[in-house]
Every structure is written in structure tokens, then in C-alpha cells.
Assembly symmetry: C2
């Protein structure tokens, strides 16, 4: 009997958690938190005659946005609203929901994105200088939707909102694994819903150049495996982003990270070819030759074409991780350096960057690049994207350079939302004066592409990117981690309506992993493990390549285990105060994990792809037993004997080992429980 | 206690069913069933050094196909295969898996699609005249993948395969609701996996014209709400389809079903404008004016452009459901008919068709249209697509016309897979001679777009379209319905790897419907109900329009309830033989449904969109109680008294009523149980 008792208990328990999350209607679920907010306890009731009236002087973009908002509301509520496609020509007059908007915003850095939203019992008013502000206000309104007494309602609020930083971005690496247009579009929708406004498109690297050129068609033919964006697709994405208030700028990573180019243009490399598209991950030698005029003639022609394709004023040239090997080994390059008094590779790269800068300037672009482009020879109108950290950023700001922070926002490294959330672009005690502070424009989270495919890229980005979006938008003092996690769960669910796949594709991947058998035992373990962190996935005996399967258990895990986070907090609480409710909850979880192993074994036997996590599952069962015994000891105020401690410490050490590049996330809590009975 | 007991019992039970499905390795899961097949009981073991060697003279298309097959195998198994992108240039020599292919196939009606596949313990050989045949063989191989003793294996088989009909299609209506390119592409992948070879793209109707024209840009500007396919996208889809052995041809439905055109070209309609894009569903009056030369000048220019865009030799002009009202009411048209001795509207439409035929012929196209285009004036090289039925098709074949069947394959009407599966393009006793029989080219299933969106279109098409694919491919005598359903479940799961969303999007929709609370009680009822059938959804007090919410419970149901089908069969068995195992299984289900109502009520109170199915849920609980009581009576060989019968018959009648345009699918079984105790 016990087998059946435990599972529903846990289920019921999780059910209660969910209910609690939703039912806290006194706590709003806004993310990012607005600049200023007040509530009055009343409600605006949403009914089937609801309609939107747009006044002022926006262009069609806002009408389209409002149409989509109406469809999203309709899909959530099942209400049949009368308005079909809103346009300037069919605008209606009603007093129920009025959007006042003075002008279309420019899709440029620093445009006005502020808005005021006033919901009262009979009326909603949204006022904004630009449609970019109005879009932000519409997303806030959608986040306000709640349920009261069987009705859909918006709580009465007065919101005055504006962003803290003007540059709030996501970088997606579409080179290492290609990401089709629909992946980009759904992520643009998700970005807009949390008020992000910059999409940095990493379009070339050793593993592929992903943009069509009409001038050099060899690029798409030879450097991309046929996986590239046509110019029409790029224009479509840029228009789609602009319709959502998002800037798009490209990155072409040069002079390093450039193997794929040389499949078509071996003569531009710093060592003789031929070259093949790189299939491995890492930092590689191939680098553009900065000492021959051909290189600049090539970029002069190519960037004349591609700077027109991307209308944003910024253009990213990468510049990172040039290991200099090809330069060191090429006698002509060494001679060139001597002849021109170029003292080292960094200076040679600055020479290269300066030549590229001239090409960009001629084409009306400003340069942005990674920390490495910073060099005394570079002018101060470039923007530094810092992967190195806030120190580098502060130093750059003092030297007069503008910068954005990406260190601490490397979301592909599978760190907790909390870590990213508390990472501020402006460090405490930076010592920057007001004009230097303004040079810190914001930040970008980076989704490098080695370990993701269209199937699971969303799960690496979301929901954690929403916590980063809040860091970039909300006042600096907003940093209640528990409340952030509470809201993150709601946002995560809401992102599904925009096509974000992290929840549904996990279920799909689990079905595949179990060969379509019952997925619950697998879900039980997957929910309490995480992929190994930072770069360790590459150092555990598995050689990942571009064409490896990214469909194993590690790829189906979420980056952050909610249940493990809850378990760790509850264990702390229990150890402190021996609370019996906490003990019951912990025991229910532990019993479930303990008994899961036997059920999972059946699945493993039926689906060999699961074999690699068999030791992990056994270890989870073992430490769960340890945890149960420790809790009993604590409850009866007993200490463990030496034998028990020796045995269980060794069980714990074993359970800390990763398998299949995943690790159990409750070992620290079990360790604390062991220490509490020591 | 009872509450917790019942649920796991049902779960365990379903678990056993799934296991049984997968474990029958003596029964293959091929769909469609091949022309000839033998097995020898041995296995080819799939290991991580597996590679593919392609010989003969195919073009790059087959290398790309094989690359995708390798990735699908790798994703299923987690095996790290060495081959990255297969090309003609990097072909390897191995003896393990050899594909012999003589030539690239032409993407035309009647091309050779046959193949032989021989799997033996150390070797796989796939032989085909064309790459189209080789592609079919690769899909067969993927369907053969199985598990034996912890290894992935292919069972040894000898297969000689070829299609019964050369025209095996799906029509998707992208006019009533626009379907983005990624929806089309994933459905092309699904089609290829079940050996379908024709995609009929319904691109214009009253609610939108969906193709970019460079000659008449007003079309995309005014007739599409901005939702249209660019010419580049169309070329991309056609190339994508060809890479999978699939022909693509367009349908522009004229002279009726044409409201959207007249937003841009009111002068071509048979009544004065202005016109708006139609937002409602049905048959509407607007019709091209066949009596003015402007109409033909327009199509002459437009089709000169669009016939080049679509390289297939066929071009569909619709022709259906012209209600003739605008013609009857237009004096000029009536005068024209009198003057030219055109006796009725059908003859006038034939005149129109003949004029259009001349334009198509000039552009090297053959005409295809719905039954209505059949008229003595039309030449016999046109193809008739029959929505009326096999009688019409047989009649057409006798008159010398080629035809394809769509009657009985209207998959949007939510009929059971069995119904479509047993519907044969060539009816028993058709009386057709051999050359007439050859005129019946095959068939197409039609997915009309009124009630689907990109979120749930896949669930309407799949998995049932796979049963239709088998009807078109496999020998006529293959018609074991139970075995079809057994294999359909496996295919349904496998289609997920191609991006088909019917399983995962149902889960997403249930989350949305419950406002992210526990979805299980909702799933329990959704699993045993179906949308109302045929066209009744439009006649139940709900006025559906293009912009209505298609996110309600009815939209989240599957077209065919597996558990209800199982329940009906098991109830029949139990009534016949009073089998106690069947009784236990039925009782477990009924208890679960009975107790579900209380749990669902909590969700309904927390999510108003669910309110409409409250009576349905109460009725399910009530008839479940009825069923439980009837089973008890049967087991104790008692009959029910009059009171019981009166009361429960009335409960049953109430439960037959649809709510929210859905209906409970076990009422017929409950009725049989009641009758058994009468």
C-alpha cells in the first residue's frame, strides 16, 4: 500500500504549491517589476464585449500589437471578442480601454520606452509617448490578468514605468547549431513579453557562417552546410523584432573563430588550407590574415552588402579568443609586424580592428565587440561587450568607452536564476561618476550554441532570462530572490502562449527517452537533477561534436531543479526548528525518490539510452534512505553512531559523482542532515 | 483510501497496455504495411560505429535524406555516430549498410517509388531505382528500430515494396487560418515518414489569398491581413517537399469562394463592391464575373506568374460551391448567357473553366478541380478531385477522366481512423475495366482550416492521416482495423521526432485551460470526450469566426478517444462472457470517472474557461455510477427494476447531450450495459 500512498501525497503537495502560487492575488505576478506601482484592491472585469481603442498618432505596428494582445486574451479566457484585425482604418471609439500614443518609436538605442497604465473598475487607460512604451504597457496588462469569483479581471493599478538601462539583450549563437527562423521569432516574442529590447545575433563562428550573400554566394554554398538565413528571412526577422520594439544587430566574429569562412576563402587565412567546417567545440587556430590587402577588400565588399541588410546602428565584430598561433607561425605576418612596429598580437588585432572600423564607419555603423577589442588605438565611440566582468567594464567606462555586461549572464552555463539575478551591471562601490555611469548601457545574456538544438534551446534560455530581464529593467533595489522565483514560475507558464517550448519539449524528450512508456519514474529523477555546470560537460569523457545526439537525459533536464531548491530550503528549516510539517514533506519526497529506483530500472531495461543514469538513480535512492534515517534520528533527538556516519558519508560521496553529465541536486541538503546527527 | 487506490490502478493498467504495445517485437510496427515482407527472427545490432554508404547515381538529395536519418537514429538511441554531413564527396565505403540507387527520381506523378530492403544479421542493403524509392526504404528502416536485450536492433527482414496508388496526398487549407511555413514543413516530414507524396496547398478562399504576387502586389497587401507566403517561402517549401519525394501543387479556388480577392479587385466580382475579407465560415455569394474579358486578362497575367512559381504539372482551380446568386442577380451576366446560349450556371462555370483551362494549357499546366468542374465541354486530361464520392469518381473514370478520392477522407470532420481506413478509392464491384481503373489515381485527405490554428492543426491530421496513407500505399486486402490502431499509436509517438505537436500541444493547452494548475482531472475527462462530428460544431449556438478563440476544451480534445474505444470493446466483451478481468478493468475506469467530477470542479472554480464542461463532467460521473451498478447487477446475474431503468435511462439521455461542442464517447457502452440488465 505504501507505494501508492506516497506518490499521491507528493502530487497533492505539489498541487497545493501551484494553487498557492496562483491564488495570491494580493501579490501581483509582474516581471519585470515596474518602476512605480500602486494598487487599490478593486478590479476591472473582462467581458466578451471587451475592445481596444487606440488614439494619438502611432503607426500600424501598434494596431498589430494590440490585435495580438486581444488574441492572447481571447485564447486564455475563451471569450469571443468582437474585434478582428485592428487597423488605423477600423479604429473604434470606446471608453473602456483607451491607448494614447503620441508617435511611433524609433528602433534605436535610448528611445523612450516609458508608459503609464491606470486600471480602474470601469476603465483602462494606457498612455505612452511612443508605441514602444505602449507595447510594454500592454505586456504589463497581460501579466495582470487574474481570476476573481469566476470572472477574468485586471486588478486596479496605477503604474508609472520606465527602464533602468536602455540596452537589455539576448545573444543567440546560431552558428554552432543553426536555429531556424521560428526559433528566433518565438524567442523575440518571449523577449518582448519581459520588456527586453535587443537581439544580438551571433551569425558566424568556426562551425558555420549563416547569412546569405549575393556578392559572395560561396559563403552560403560552402560555409553553412546549407543551414543559413536568406536575406529575405533576415529582413523578416528584423521587421518582426521591430514590430515588438526590439533592435537586431549581427555579430560576425573576426579575426578568430573563423574556420568556416576559409572553406570558401582559404587565401584569407593566416595559414594555408584547405579548410573544412569545424565539427568540434573549443578555440581553434584559423584566423584571418590581417596583413594582406585582400582581407580588407573582401570585408569592404561584404560589409557594404551586409551593413545594408542590418539597419541597426551597431555592428558586432566579435574579436574574442584569437589564440594567435597562426599569426606566430606565419613568417610574412611576423615580417609585417616588424616592419610596421606592431609589438604583439593584441596590437596586430587592434590594427585589424581599425581597418575594419574604417569599413564600418564608411557604412554608417558603430562598432561593438568583446573585451579584446579595447585598445588605446580604438576610438571611444565603440561599445565593449564584457565577458570578462564588471571590473573590465568599469575600467572601460573610465576610459570613455560605452559598455554592456555579459559576464555573469552566460545562461548556457546552467547556473541558477538567483546567480544571474543578483549580478548587477553596475557593481557596488564602482566609484564611477554620473557621466561614466551612463556609459554602462545595460547587458546581454548569451546563449552559446554548442549544447543546444531547436528542441531544447528554449529550456536553456527560459525562464531564467526573465530574471535577467528584470535586472536590466527594474530599479536596482528590486532583489527579493524568493519573490523572483515565485513570479518566475508564473512567467514560465505564460511564455508557452508565445510558443516557448521548454515545458512541452521536456515532456516530448522524456517520451522519446522512455520509448513512449510511462514517463513518470524518469520525470521523478529528472526533476531533481541538473546538467553539470560551467564547462564541465566537456571534460567527462564524452566528446561532443556538432552532430552528436542532444537528446539524452542531460539534454532533457531543466537547468534548475525547483523541487531540489525547495528541498534544500525546507531541510534547512527543519534542521533549525525540527518542524514536524517540514519533516513530513521532506519524508514524502525522500520516500518517493527511494522507491523510484525500482520503477526506473524497468524503464532502463526497456530503453538503453537511459542506461547511463542507472548509477545516479541508485545513488538517489541511497541518499534518500540516508535522509529518511537522519530525519528520524533528528526527530527523536538522537545522534548517529560511527558506523552509520561512516557508511552514509561514503554513500553521500558516491552520490556527488555526476553520471551522464548530470548531478543530483539534494546532496548538500543530505550532507546537512548527516551533519545534524553527527 | 479508495480515492488513491483507483487512480494508480488505472495508471498501472495503461502502463501495461503501453508495455504490451512496445514489447510485441514479433509484431512489426510498419505503417503503411509493405507490399511483400518476410522476417527470419534474427537481428542487426545497431552500434556506435554505424555508418551509411551510398552507391549508384543519386544526387545530393539522397545524401541529405540519409544524414537526417542518421540524426534521427542518433537522437533516438543516444549513440554518437561518426558521420557528420553526408555528401557525394565524403562518401565512405563500408559493407554494413549500403544504399544502391540508380538515379534521382523526378517529382512527377507516376515516378518509380519502389524499393527492396534486406536486413540480415551483419548487413543492411537498400536497393531502389530512384532516390524516391530509397527514401521510402529509409523510413521503413526507421520504423523497424527495436530493442533486444538492452541493444538497439533492426529485425532481419526482406521487404519488396511499392505503392498501390501513385497519388497519395494531404490538402491543407492555409486560407481560412494561415499556417506558417514551419507548420507546413513539419507536416511534409510527417507525410514522408508514412510514404505520402502529394501536398495540395489550398491557398485562396473567401478568408484570404495567401501568395505573394510581384505582378499584383495588391493581393498580399489587401487580401491577406499580411498573412501570406512570399515567393521565396513557396520555393523553399517546394524544394523542402521535393527533398522528401513530395509533389506540391497549389489550389486557387475560383470562381466562387473568392471574397478576399475582391478587396483588391472589386471590378472582377459579379456584384458591385466594396468587399471586405470574410471573417465568417460558410458558403458566400461573391464570385468572379465570367462574362467580362477583364477577368481573363487578370488571370492570364497572374497565372503566367504563379504557374512558374509552382513547377508541378498540375494546377488546382477549385470550382466548388459556387452558389450562383451573384450570377442570377446580375442582368449583364444573364444577358451574356442568353446571347451565348449558355443554359445554366453550371454551363456558365464550364465556359469560365474552359477559358481558364486555355490559360493553364498555355503555361504547360494540367487542370485539377473539384467534382463541379466535370462537364461535357471539358477535355479528358483534367483530374477530378471528388468530394462527392466514389460513385462520382467511377462515373468520371468511365467518361475517360482521371480522378482522386477525397470523399471519406475529410479529416477535419473528426471521424474515427477506422472510418477513413476502410474507405477505399476503388469501391467493391465498381465494374471498371483495367484501363478505367488506372484512371483512379489515389486520393487526398483534406484538412479544412476553419477550426484549426497552428497550435492544434497537427492533432486533427495526425495520427489518423497515417491510416489513410496506408490505404493509399498498401495492398487493398490490408484492412485489419485492430492492428491498424495498434500501429497507429506507435506511429503517433514517432511523429513527434519530426516536430508533430499533437501530443505536446494538447498538454500545453490543458495547462493553459487550468491556468497552470494540476491538469490531471481535466486530462481524465478530455481523454474520454471528442469534439462533435461532421459540421455540427457550427450549429450549437456558438458562432465561430476567423478570430474566435480556438483554445477551449473542444480544441484540446483528440479527434478519437483511445480509452473510450477500448472501453466500448471491453464492455461488449464483458456483456458477452461476464469475464471478471474485464469487469475489474471497466470498474477501475468508471470509478475514476465518477470521482473525477469533484476534482474537476475545483479546477473549474479556479479557471472560468472550463465552466462550459461542468455539466459534461457531472454527466460523466452520473453514467459512470450507472455503469458500475449495471456491472454489479450483471456479475450477480440480476436484472434491474423499473425505477432503476427509468432513472438511469434518463441519466443516459442527458449524458448524450453535447456541451462545449464536445460529447462523451462511452454513452453507447453504458446503454448496452443498461440493456443487459433490462
Amino acid at each position: 500500500m505504501k507505494r501508492y500512498l506516497v506518490t499521491p501525497l507528493v502530487l497533492v503537495f505539489i498541487f497545493i504549491i501551484s494553487f498557492a502560487l496562483q491564488a495570491q492575488s494580493n501579490k501581483l505576478n509582474l516581471m519585470p517589476v515596474p518602476h512605480k506601482l500602486s494598487v487599490d484592491g478593486g478590479y476591472f472585469k473582462l467581458q466578451k464585449d471587451f475592445s481596444i481603442s487606440i488614439k494619438g498618432n502611432p503607426d500600424e505596428r501598434l494596431f498589430s500589437y494590440a490585435t495580438r494582445v486581444l488574441r492572447r486574451l481571447s485564447n486564455r479566457t475563451g471569450l469571443f471578442f468582437p474585434q478582428d484585425v485592428l487597423t488605423k482604418d477600423n479604429t473604434i471609439n470606446n471608453d473602456e480601454f483607451i491607448i494614447n500614443c503620441n508617435r511611433p518609436g524609433k528602433i534605436v538605442l535610448g528611445e523612450d520606452e516609458s508608459y503609464d497604465l491606470i486600471v480602474s473598475s470601469g476603465k483602462i487607460e494606457l498612455n505612452a509617448e511612443t508605441d514602444l512604451g505602449a507595447m510594454k504597457g500592454l505586456e504589463t496588462l497581460l501579466q495582470l490578468l487574474d481570476i476573481q469569483n469566476g470572472d477574468y479581471v485586471f486588478p486596479n493599478v496605477t503604474i508609472n514605468d520606465k527602464p533602468r538601462f536602455p540596452w537589455r539583450g539576448i545573444m543567440i549563437d546560431a552558428s554552432r547549431h543553426f536555429e531556424p527562423v521560428e526559433v528566433i521569432k518565438r524567442n523575440l516574442d518571449a523577449m518582448a513579453s519581459v520588456k527586453m529590447n535587443v537581439f544580438h545575433w551571433h551569425l558566424s563562428d568556426d562551425q558555420g557562417v549563416r547569412v546569405e550573400s549575393k556578392v559572395f554566394p560561396q559563403i552560403q554554398k560552402l560555409c553553412s552546410d546549407g543551414l543559413y538565413y536568406s536575406q529575405e528571412q533576415i529582413k523578416d526577422v528584423i521587421r518582426y523584432a521591430a514590430d515588438r520594439g526590439i533592435r537586431v544587430y549581427p555579430e560576425f566574429d573576426i579575426p578568430g573563430h573563423s574556420t568556416a569562412w576559409f572553406v570558401a576563402f582559404p587565401e584569407l587565412a593566416s595559414a594555408p588550407g584547405p579548410y573544412k567546417i569545424e565539427r568540434n567545440w573549443g578555440v581553434f587556430d584559423p584566423t584571418f590574415n590581417p596583413t594582406i590587402e585582400q582581407t580588407y577588400e573582401f570585408f569592404d565588399k561584404l560589409f557594404a552588402e551586409w551593413t545594408k541588410l542590418f539597419p541597426d546602428e551597431y555592428f558586432h565584430i566579435g574579436g574574442d579568443e584569437n589564440n594567435g598561433k597562426q599569426w606566430n607561425e606565419n613568417k610574412d605576418i611576423q615580417d609585417f609586424m616588424k616592419k610596421n612596429n606592431i609589438k604583439d598580437n593584441h596590437a596586430l588585432q587592434a590594427y585589424f580592428n581599425n581597418r575594419i572600423l574604417k569599413i564600418l564607419t564608411k557604412n554608417n555603423k558603430k562598432m561593438i565587440g568583446w573585451d579584446e577589442i579595447l585598445h588605446p588605438q580604438m576610438p571611444t565611440n565603440i561599445v565593449i561587450q564584457s565577458w570578462r566582468g564588471t571590473d573590465a567594464l568599469v575600467e572601460a567606462a573610465k576610459k570613455g568607452y560605452m559598455g554592456i555586461l555579459s559576464n555573469g549572464y552566460y545562461i548556457d552555463l546552467i547556473q541558477p536564476a538567483e546567480f544571474h539575478y543578483l549580478n548587477d551591471p553596475v557593481p557596488q562601490g564602482s566609484g564611477l561618476n554620473e557621466s561614466e555611469l551612463k556609459r554602462i548601457l545595460g547587458g546581454e545574456t548569451t546563449q552559446w550554441g554548442e549544447l543546444v538544438t531547436p528542441d531544447n534551446i528554449d529550456s536553456r534560455l527560459w525562464p531564467r532570462a526573465a530574471a535577467i530581464a528584470e535586472r536590466f529593467w527594474s530599479p536596482q533595489e528590486v532583489k527579493d530572490v524568493d519573490d523572483m522565483y515565485r513570479r518566475l514560475d508564473v512567467i514560465n507558464f505564460r511564455l508557452e502562449e508565445l510558443g516557448i517550448t521548454n515545458i512541452k519539449n521536456q515532456e516530448m524528450m522524456l517520451r522519446r527517452l522512455t520509448n513512449n512508456l510511462e514517463t513518470k519514474p524518469l520525470k521523478t529523477i529528472v526533476d531533481v537533477i541538473e546538467p553539470v555546470k560551467i564547462y564541465t560537460r566537456h571534460s567527462q569523457g564524452v566528446k561532443y561534436q556538432q552532430h552528436s545526439p542532444y537528446s539524452r537525459v542531460v539534454d532533457a533536464t531543466q537547468p534548475e531543479s525547483n523541487i531540489a531548491r525547495w528541498f534544500r530550503k525546507t531541510a534547512d528549516k527543519f534542521i533549525q526548528n525540527k518542524d514536524s510539517k517540514a519533516a513530513d514533506e521532506l519524508k514524502a519526497c525522500l520516500s518517493n525518490w527511494k522507491e523510484n529506483h525500482e520503477k526506473l530500472l524497468k524503464l532502463i531495461n526497456a530503453s538503453p539510452i537511459l542506461k547511463e543514469i542507472e548509477p545516479l538513480s541508485a545513488n538517489l535512492a541511497n541518499i534518500s534512505e540516508t535522509g529518511l534515517e537522519a530525519i528520524s534520528l533528528i526527530l527523536s533527538s538522537k545522534k548517529a553512531d560511527e558506523n552509520w556516519l561512516t557508511k552514509n558519508s561514503s554513500i553521500l560521496e558516491e552520490a556527488k559523482k555526476p553520471y551522464g553529465q548530470t548531478e543530483i541536486m539534494i546532496t548538500s541538503a543530505i550532507e546537512k542532515l548527516i551533519n545534524a546527527v553527527r
